[in-house]
């Protein structure tokens, strides 16, 4: 710290002040991005809630026609899609995650602020695309999990599913960028002294969640890409009459779908692990076991997708394996529940609204967990599947477990976000109405499910005996609606009241409570030195024991950082706002819109603007890298640059992306019912292409070596050579594809051709992106802006290029060479 400490100005402007509308549109401040997520999620929560109420109105009485069957289908589809993708994830990750990660780990922002803003704008574009059906083509109506082959154009013509496919692809891209950003931030930007075992439990949960996002979302992306190809380009990835199997969609969807449950649940577990200790005035019980449990849950969650598919007939071995893994996941989950109870046990409890909701979550989530274990047993699951029992189960998990936690988190962190308190009296009303409404709505669904009421049913006959319980549920839903109105009113009242919240209203334990409410743009005047777990508690009281209780009760608890820390803020350089995240996201939206309304000029313009704005963002980032070259910003994780961790995380996610494509090719290559097969492949030509791509990797590392030693001439030669070899490889691919076409094998000819073209084509797209990236660097080198100090830029493109190379090594072996073996 070169600058001498100076007193802070009397009034530190909060992150909410200044900038006007343009300031918000161009912001890359993690807190402002979080607030924008909050506003959008509250809007979509109201919309999804309205759809749920409409569903309950329709089910009020037998043979009811309050809604048409088509509208009913659209509403339950959009209720699920909206709540999962536009409410719960944006609230957990976009709002709480974005706001709290840097504050809890003692950083000034996330690792990639521009990418963070782009994630938000992409999420907004996705939300708009998903709802454009209101305007044109109708709302999606095939269920939130869009089972094939119901989603094929033959069964669902029109634009509704098109909006859904494109919207979810954009939403998935946004989420993956968020996961990559969070993982990198947590790994590399923790304050000095914050080891992994000193991180707040919320940070642990977000680290595990980010990893899950990176390995789970690619499967959904691939499933959606196949569906997009089926609907837009006439392939048959899910068409049984062409030899394909709609079961492929279920595998790809649930490979994403069950981890997705934990992508929503784990952050909630993390938040509840922050809230319960704060109001119990005790450290979290069993911190290490809680951390390990989060990791174990995340790992196991990737191996349980099959329990959604017991009814498809996967065979006794697969059923048994999925039953075992599904039961195993109850163990670490149980550890967490017992740890929370043990934290409360013997604590000095403060019965705030946040704590009410936290305790409510413990009860309701446990009930949902218990019915979940029933689904792990294949024979029992076969009785319950597609019944209202399942609807009851997942609402107890997602509403009882996650929404209750989100509400607790609202009451807990709202003062930090806004600088104002939420009303406790209204909060208690909110809580009790929620508890009553929630249990009246969802508990009877267990019974109706056991009685055989199928989920997603439009109506039911009076002779089924389901009327009274359905009416109880509808009454409960309206009580729940009132509860949410109270919540929204509480927010409104809080924002319009003059009462200000102190910096540390709950005598908190983690670092966010050490800064002002709301925090300044730079978060901390000085990056804190972490001396132990519960970092702020340690700074306040010196140890993690119970001394804070007495200090707080006597009013002696400090609310400002301890003396001795530098208070000058002049040396803090925050990254400048950028319009590129907004522009690039809008351009991506144009591509999606163009695909759906069949206007190729929009697609081309969107693609061009996307590329240009991303390149522009890259050059902005380079400036930021220099600007922030200050000891405080040095990454804490062994000196590894955040960009390098980010690229490696992206590469890890791409492994799953290509594994999904390759496995589909292997499954489908011999299922074609007509047309040419693997014998059409040209091994000599591809061998030459393979050699060229391998040698391009050599040129790439030579370019890096030249950059590192400051040899500008050879740097340009090798960079240009790498791009040229990439272009030659792409030329070979174009020649290969063209010759296949002339020999009678087009994209839609059969299952072999479509899985081949999509796999190899996507690899080609990756090569093309690499060539583009290399070309940008080459231009920078020619302009003299790629000196020795920028070697990392060359290393990053190199990592991407070599990954494309190793993927081709696998494709060359599995797709080309193994075709010589019958049945391989």
């Amino acid at each position: 710290m070169a600058a001498q400490p100076k007193p802070l100005p009397a009034h530190q402007p909060s992150y909410l002040e200044g900038g006007g509308i343009l300031g918000w549109l161009t912001t890359i401040d993690h807190k402002r991005v979080a607030v924008m997520y909050l506003v959008s999620a509250l809007f979509f929560m109201a919309l999804g809630g309205f759809e749920a109420m409409a569903i309950r109105v329709q089910l009020w009485s037998p043979d009811n026609h309050a809604l048409s069957a088509a509208t009913y289908n659209a509403f339950f589809t959009m209720h699920g899609t909206t709540m999962v993708f536009l409410v719960v994830m944006p609230l957990l990750l976009g709002f709480f995650g974005n706001f709290l990660i840097p504050l809890q780990i003692g950083a000034r922002d996330v690792a990639f602020p521009r990418l963070n803003a782009m994630s938000f704008w992409l999420a907004m574009v996705a939300g708009v695309l998903l709802h454009l059906g209101w305007v044109r083509g109708g709302l999606p109506d095939a269920g939130w999990f869009g089972y094939a082959n119901l989603t094929e154009r033959y069964f669902t013509p029109g634009l509704a599913i098109d909006w859904w496919v494109i919207g979810l692809l954009v939403s998935g891209t946004s989420t993956v960028l968020t996961g990559l950003n969070f993982l990198t931030t947590i790994i590399a930007m923790r304050a000095p002294g914050m080891t992994y075992m000193r991180m707040p439990m919320f940070i642990w949960s977000l680290m595990a969640t980010s990893i899950l996002i990176l390995i789970a979302f690619p499967a959904l992306t691939i499933g959606l890409i196949f569906l997009l190809f089926d609907r837009f380009f006439g392939t048959h990835f899910y068409v049984a009459s062409a030899g394909a199997t709609p079961i492929l969609w279920q595998h790809l969807f649930w490979l994403f779908g069950h981890p997705e449950v934990y992508i929503m649940a784990l952050p909630a577990f993390g938040m509840i692990s922050e809230i319960i200790p704060a109001f119990s005035r005790k450290p979290l019980f069993g911190y290490p076991m809680m951390a390990y449990s989060i990791c174990l849950i995340a790992f196991l969650s990737y191996g349980v997708w099959g329990h959604h598919m017991f009814a498809t007939g996967m065979g006794p071995v697969a059923d048994s394996a999925f039953a075992v893994t599904s039961m195993l996941i109850a163990i670490p989950t149980g550890v967490k529940i017992f740890s929370w109870i043990a934290t409360v046990w013997g604590g000095s409890l403060r019965m705030t609204t946040a704590f009410y909701f936290a305790l409510g979550m413990l009860l309701e989530f446990t009930l949902g967990g218990l019915s979940g274990i029933m689904h792990a047993s294949a024979p029992i699951d076969l009785q319950q599947t597609d019944s209202y029992f399942v609807v009851a189960h997942f609402h107890y998990v997602l509403f009882g477990g996650v929404i209750f936690t989100i509400m607790a988190a609202f009451y807990y962190w709202w003062p930090k976000v806004t600088g104002r308190m939420l009303g406790e009296r209204l909060g208690k009303w909110h809580f009790w109405l929620t508890v009553v409404g929630f249990n009246l709505t969802f508990f009877p669904m267990h019974i109706l499910g056991m009685w055989g009421m199928p989920r997603r049913t439009y109506t039911y006959g009076a002779d089924m005996g389901w009327t009274h319980l359905n009416q109880v549920e509808t009454i409960g839903a309206f009580i729940l609606g009132v509860a949410f109105l109270v919540f929204y009113f509480n927010i409104f009242k809080s924002l319009t009241s003059a009462e200000r919240a102190p910096a540390d209203p709950w005598d908190g334990r983690s670092l966010e409570w050490s800064t002002a409410s709301p925090p300044p743009a730079y978060n901390f005047a000085a990056i804190p030195q972490i001396r132990g777990r519960d970092a702020w508690w340690m700074l306040k009281y010196g140890h993690a024991g119970s001394r804070g209780v007495a200090a707080y009760a006597s009013g002696a608890a400090p609310s400002q950082p301890p003396p001795g820390e530098p208070l000058s803020v002049e040396h803090i350089h925050m990254p400048a706002p950028s319009i590129f995240p907004l522009v690039s996201s809008l351009a991506v939206g144009m591509i999606g819109l163009g695909l759906i309304i069949d206007w190729y000029r929009i697609i081309l313009i969107g693609a061009a603007v996307t590329v240009l704005s991303i390149v522009g963002m890259g050059f902005e980032y380079a400036d930021y890298g220099e600007e922030s070259h200050d000891p405080e910003h040095a990454p804490s994780s062994g000196g590894v640059d955040v960009r390098k961790i980010g690229v490696w995380s992206f590469i890890g996610s791409e492994c799953v992306f290509f594994a999904s494509l390759i496995s589909t090719f292997i499954v489908y290559k011999s299922r074609s019912v007509s047309g040419p097969g693997p014998q059409i492949l040209n091994i000599p030509l591809t061998s030459v292409s393979t050699f060229i791509l391998l040698m391009s990797s050599l040129l790439m590392v030579l370019a890096l070596a030249a950059t590192q030693r400051g040899d500008k001439l050879w740097q340009r030669i090798w960079l240009g050579g790498t791009a040229a070899f990439g272009l030659i490889f792409l030329g070979g691919q174009v020649y290969e594809f063209t010759s296949f076409y002339h020999e009678g094998m087009g994209l839609t000819t059969n299952l072999f051709s479509q899985s081949f073209f999509v796999l190899v084509g996507f690899h080609g797209v990756h090569v093309a992106i690499g060539v583009l990236w290399l070309s940008v660097l080459l231009v920078a080198a020619m302009a003299g802006k790629l000196g020795k100090s920028r070697a990392l830029s060359v290393e990053l493109v190199g990592l991407y290029w070599h990954f494309v190379d190793v993927v081709w090594i696998i494709i060359f072996t599995l797709v080309y060479l193994m075709q010589a073996v019958p049945g391989a």
Binding site: I211, I215, A240, S241, G243, T245, I247, L248, H251, L255, G303, G306, G313, M314, G315, V317, A318, S637, G638, V640, K644, I645, W648, S649, I651, G652, C655, V656, A659, S660, S663, I666, V667, R671, V673, I683, S687, T690, L694, M695, S697, L698, V701, L704, A705, Q708, R709, L792, E795, G798, H802, F803, V806, I809, I810, F812, T813, L817, M818, V821
Partner: protein
């Protein structure tokens, strides 16, 4: 390794041109072996394991030397290896699940 070059202020040690060229030669040799194995009919009974071993060797060489995992922090290896293992498990699982499906179900699935 005598040709190790210092980069990034002494934090990372990347190999120099000689190592890169050696790896390129190995990659070319392994690719030649793959193509040879493909055309030798006598080897077809063991083609699958042979090709997998050769591809794995090439993969490892690129990842370790060109992507510098051999020289960089273990953290980066972990960030890459964990999803790679997951991806491999996914690949094997889907192949096995569909193999069962194709032998016990109608083509329509």
């Amino acid at each position: 390794m005598s040709d190790i070059a210092d980069a990034h202020g002494g934090q990372n040690h990347h190999p120099g041109a000689a190592t890169y060229l050696t790896i390129a030669a190995l990659l070319a040799g392994l690719t030649a072996m793959e193509i040879t194995v493909f055309y030798v009919h006598a080897l077809h009974p063991v083609l699958v394991p042979l090709l997998i071993v050769l591809a794995a060797a090439k993969f490892a060489l690129v990842a370790m030397f060109y992507m510098h995992l051999k020289y960089d922090k273990w953290l980066l290896t972990g960030v890459f290896i964990f999803p790679l293992i997951i991806a491999t498990l996914l690949l094997v699982s889907l192949i096995l699940l569909f193999a069962y499906l194709s032998t016990h179900m109608t083509p329509a699935g």
